[in-house]
């Protein structure tokens, strides 16, 4: 399951989507909205995506992970739109026969997602808002 969603992300559904009788290990990464960044209070986040390209890049990440590790199943779901503190921004789940590969593949996915996938996060503070990493 690779998707972007305006709706609340259901972790259980994503985990269920990667279970496999051939897999003994599932690693799940969940990115949540923190109440602060660099010591400043965050009120909420607003995610924007270039959706067709973001989906294409997410599928490329999944493909690369499957080439590098013995992945049984892999799901990535990313939020679009406003998310309040504590809500889920991204969930990645990877099942593999043994545990080491599940950690490595999952970490590869989130690290690469943060570098390549055209999604942008606006941090909304009490006194203003800013696109993250938007200035040189």
């Amino acid at each position: 399951m690779i998707k972007l969603t305006q709706e609340h992300i259901n972790v259980q559904q994503i985990i269920d989507s990667v279970y496999s009788n051939n897999a003994g290990a599932v690693d799940v990464f969940i990115g949540t909205v923190r109440n602060n960044t660099k010591g400043k209070n965050v009120v909420k986040l607003d995610f924007e995506a270039y959706e067709p390209m973001a989906l294409k890049e997410l599928k490329m990440i999944a493909k690369e992970a499957k080439e590098k590790w013995p992945v049984e199943k892999l799901s990535i779901v990313h939020a679009i739109g406003v998310r309040e503190i504590g809500e889920l921004a991204v969930v990645i789940a990877v099942s593999t026969p043994h545990r080491k590969a599940s950690f490595e593949a999952c970490q590869f996915c989130i690290d690469t997602l943060k570098q390549t996938v055209p999604i942008w996060k606006k941090e909304v503070f009490e006194d203003g808002e800013v696109w993250v990493d938007s200035t040189p």
Partner: protein
């Protein structure tokens, strides 16, 4: 020829547009489009950084554009 340019995040904020259509001479490349963008939206040159994507693919160097191409301005991504 026409190319459609999409703006996201800070590029949308700085230009005030989510998309804008440019009419370019045939055989124009990304550098030509970039000049037009900087002329139309000077803040893109002075205040931010971005990469180009053409038809959903990052283009690191230059590339000749075709009529109907979709060009996106990709500021530093921050998903996750």
């Amino acid at each position: 020829m026409n190319v459609s340019v999409l703006f996201f995040g800070i590029t949308k904020e700085k230009t005030g547009f989510s998309n804008y259509s440019f009419n370019l001479d045939p055989q124009s490349d990304l550098r030509v489009l970039e000049e037009e963008l900087f002329r139309k939206f000077p803040k893109l040159k002075s205040e931010i950084t971005f990469k180009f994507a053409v038809n959903n693919e990052y283009i690191l160097g230059n590339q000749v554009l075709n009529n109907g191409d979709e060009v996106a301005l990709i500021p530093p991504v921050s998903g996750g």
